[in-house]
């Protein structure tokens, strides 16, 4: 056994060495970039060749001076650039304004100097001198300007592709609260957060991840509030990532999370700018990935997955009630089927006699033991749910009709399951929809079967054993060094104000202590003290 592990270790080490060598090779390649040639035709040729003559690359050569030698070329990727800007502004300026200026003092100055002096239209303009950079800029939506006879080019920011407009988020919906959600574009998303927090302390760092996709990833944090240790940890973990591509936060999440073998999510994700902003103010780090409307929030606590941003927009008493309700729903979704199995197979004496009699009468015609019955129904329900998510929208009504039959009266009439079982499955389903975060809800779906198995073999004892194991596992989890179950365990009195219940806003003057470890006191607002009502009465009269 030990030998096996050692062998494996040696293998892994060898692999790592190979990888490092490969990396060194690629690094070497990167370290010596190919400079732009002075010959414009050669440059164009190389770009075309390197990109495999791709159909969406547009290269246009123009003659600017009186002689045939003063050639320039613009290259852009069709679809990634704002065509209007390129055609109406850039080409027009080049062919009219700059041409005139050049013709006036031909041969006196270099073209590149002219471009620098006569500012080119466009927001951000950078000089490029090597081929790799210009290709990368070209593929990220910039327009590249090449000049004959000079080994410099210009990269003009002309990004502008079709993207979805800001809509109401489809997850984490609220009755009262902002209705805007993140979109697929990184810039729009950072702007949405920036619009909420106009502080100079909101810092945005950008890195690229993905050897092939070169996905832009923005790390947002509040300087001065964020815990430096957590921020550093987030950065080092992100830098370690070496993959071909990142398309969604989910795949990045798996690469940077603390614990892989757990059904529980240790990184929070949100589609709502207000939620991201309030998390920033609590000292958390927000990671926005280009191409997905879901931003990652780290570190995440267990209670966070049972909270909704609406809790802060409704009255405190109502919000507290709803939070407790969600917690109850979480427990119900987890334990209802297993409790049913345990009670009907092991602890019939726990039920009042009348209920027991009617239950026994219902189960009389059912051929299966309670466990098989519950398993059958739960699996059928899971299949229906998956079908509902995955199928084309147009046949949605078909599934609801079939589903109602399968999980409804027809199944009972056929004598396959009992009426009570249908109720049990329905309560479980509805309860699991109450959990506001989808990734915690799916954890519950998985654990439910584990609990059912324990209940079928050991009754209540099995359920308690399962609960103990679950809690032990939860307490051993950490999210970027922060204990997952805080502020319950380790217990923290201040944290109780805003976890399972929510106290009025004026009482919430502290940030989560485990996250913003040093500076955890926020601004304090005194509790509102309205004028005596008698004074107002006097004014009215």
């Amino acid at each position: 056994m030990k030998k096996g592990i050692q062998l494996r270790r040696v293998k892994v080490q060898k692999k790592q060495q190979q990888k490092e060598q490969q990396q060194n090779n690629t690094d070497k390649k990167n370290k010596t970039p190919i400079p732009l040639s002075t010959n414009i035709d050669q440059n164009i040729q190389t770009i075309k060749q390197d990109l495999g003559n791709s159909a969406d690359i547009v290269i246009r050569k123009m003659n600017i001076g009186s002689s045939g030698n003063d050639q320039i070329a613009i290259c852009y990727t069709n679809g990634l650039v704002d065509t209007k800007t390129v055609q109406n502004v850039i080409i027009k300026t080049l062919l009219v304004d700059i041409r005139e200026a050049y013709l006036q003092n031909e041969n006196k100055s270099k073209l590149s100097e002219l471009f620098e002096n006569h500012t080119l239209p466009g927001g951000e303009i950078t000089k490029v001198t090597d081929l790799d950079n210009s290709k990368h800029d070209l593929l990220s939506g910039n327009t590249i300007l090449l000049i004959n006879g000079e080994s410099v080019g210009f990269s003009i920011d002309t990004k502008g592709w079709a993207s979805r407009s800001i809509e109401e988020p489809s997850t984490q919906t609220v009755v009262r609260g902002p209705k805007e959600g993140f979109v697929e574009s990184l810039r729009t998303n950072t702007a949405l957060v920036r619009r909420k927090i106009k502080s100079e302390d909101l810092w945005i760092e950008q890195i690229q991840i993905g050897q092939k996709t070169k996905t832009d990833i923005a790390i947002l944090y509040m300087n001065g509030i964020v815990n430096q240790k957590i921020l550093d940890e987030v950065k080092t973990r992100l830098k370690r990532v070496q993959v071909d591509g990142i398309f969604e936060g989910g795949s990045l999440e798996e690469l940077i999370q603390d614990e892989t073998f757990t059904p529980f999510p240790t990184i929070y994700n949100t589609e709502r700018p207000d939620s991201a902003a309030s998390n920033l103010l609590e000292g958390r780090v927000v990671i926005i990935i280009d191409g997905t409307p879901f931003a990652l929030v780290a570190p995440a606590l267990f209670v966070q997955f049972l909270q909704s941003s609406e809790d802060y927009y409704q009255r405190a008493d109502m919000a507290s009630f709803l939070r407790l309700l969600r917690f109850v729903a979480f427990m119900l979704a987890l334990l209802i089927p297993s409790s049913y199995i345990a009670v009907t197979t092991f602890h019939q004496d726990m039920l009042p006699t009348t209920l027991l009699v009617s239950l026994a009468a219902q189960r009389e015609g059912v051929p299966f033991p309670a466990f098989i019955e519950a398993l059958l129904m739960e699996i059928v329900f899971e299949i229906l749910r998956e079908a509902g998510v995955r199928m084309p929208r147009a046949i949605g009504s078909a599934i609801s009709i079939v589903g109602a039959l399968v999980l409804g009266q027809a199944a009972v009439d056929a004598g396959i399951v009992s009426n009570v079982m249908v109720i049990v499955v329905s309560i479980t389903a509805i309860s699991s929809f109450v959990i506001p975060e989808y990734n915690l809800a799916i954890a519950v779906r998985l654990l439910r079967f584990f609990f059912m198995l324990l209940a079928a073999s050991f009754g209540m004892f099995g359920i308690i054993i399962g609960l103990i194991m679950m809690v032990i596992h939860l307490t051993s989890l950490r999210s970027f060094g922060v204990p997952y179950l805080s502020p319950m365990a380790p217990f923290n009195k201040e944290g109780q104000k805003d976890s399972l219940i929510r106290l009025p806003q004026w009482a919430l003057f502290s940030r989560p202590k485990m996250i913003a470890q040093d500076d955890y006191i926020r601004e304090e607002t005194p509790a509102p003290e309205p004028k005596n009502s008698e004074d107002l009465k006097g004014e009215g009269e």
Binding site: G462, V471, T475, P483
Partner: protein
Amino acid sequence: MKSQKIIISNLQFSTLVVLFTVGSSILIIPRKLAEAAEQDAWISAILTVIIGLVLVTFYSKIAGLHPDKHYFDCVKHILGKWLGGFVIAITYIFFFFLSVLVLWNIGDFLKTQILVNTPITVIFILFMMTVIFGVRAGLESIARSSEIFIPWILSLMFLTVIFLIGSLETENLLPVFEGGIQSIVYGSYYFLSFPFLELLTFLMITPYVKTKKRVKHSFMEGVLIGGLVLTIAITFCILVLGADFTERNSFPFYVLGKKVTIADILERVEVFIAIIWFLSIYFKLAVTVYVLTSGLQSIFKLKDYRPLTLPIGMLIIVTATLMFSTTMKQVEFSEVFFYPFTYIVCLVIPTTVYITGLIKQKRKRA
């Protein structure tokens, strides 16, 4: 994670002490006390809790001798390699039999009361697996989980007590002092050794407590709450069931749960009591097994205690299965061997260690 220093908060230490005190005693000790002191069991209980508080003060003094060393290291430091090694071996055997007895208690209870058709070994294995899972997760995880569960345990206890208030019969307490002071002290003999002397186990984890100056405080808090829970359990057993009936039941407090009837809606809440018992006994066993494994780790200076959990767990299961074929044999074992053994290991030896330690310290100063 492994290289990180283990730190548990003082609150977590207290909750662990509460659970350790309540665990396995709550169902068994009412019978023992009723056997010894009849209807005066409650007086005996209160007396023992007071003695327990004094005892725990003494324990925290031992911990205060070398705050950064756990009991084994402390003993080795004070008594030297050979004598210390002998004492450590005896204490280790005590911890081992303690965990065997605790595991036997839960198995015996489940086998006779709830899972009648399940082989006892299966119950042992399942419970031990959960304990090993917890111990491998680490002391911090066990401590944090205790924090999660303690509100549930205390509120279930509170509910049970509230439900039972209607069926109290005060005549059951009469006549007071029938057996005289002798029988009360006899009851205390059992009660002191059953949960309170076993708290010696906690001297193995005091070095990990965050604020070491308040160890005594947390220790006393835990014992006070745990002792209160036990005293209430005993008193209610006597008040509702009567001394005679309490004595003749293996698990009188569990029977108590069956007596609850509230307006025909809530009946037979013995499952509440079963839950209290599972949870508290789980933590008792988890702490003991943690001490067993980490103790062995420190004796042999190993890097990690985790590989030891599985063999030690198996050893406990096998011992529990082979040693006691019936409940009667276990009771006999406890009476004849374990109670006196507890007094030797947890009272006589620590006193010797403490006095020797004090003398050594004074000599050093002088």
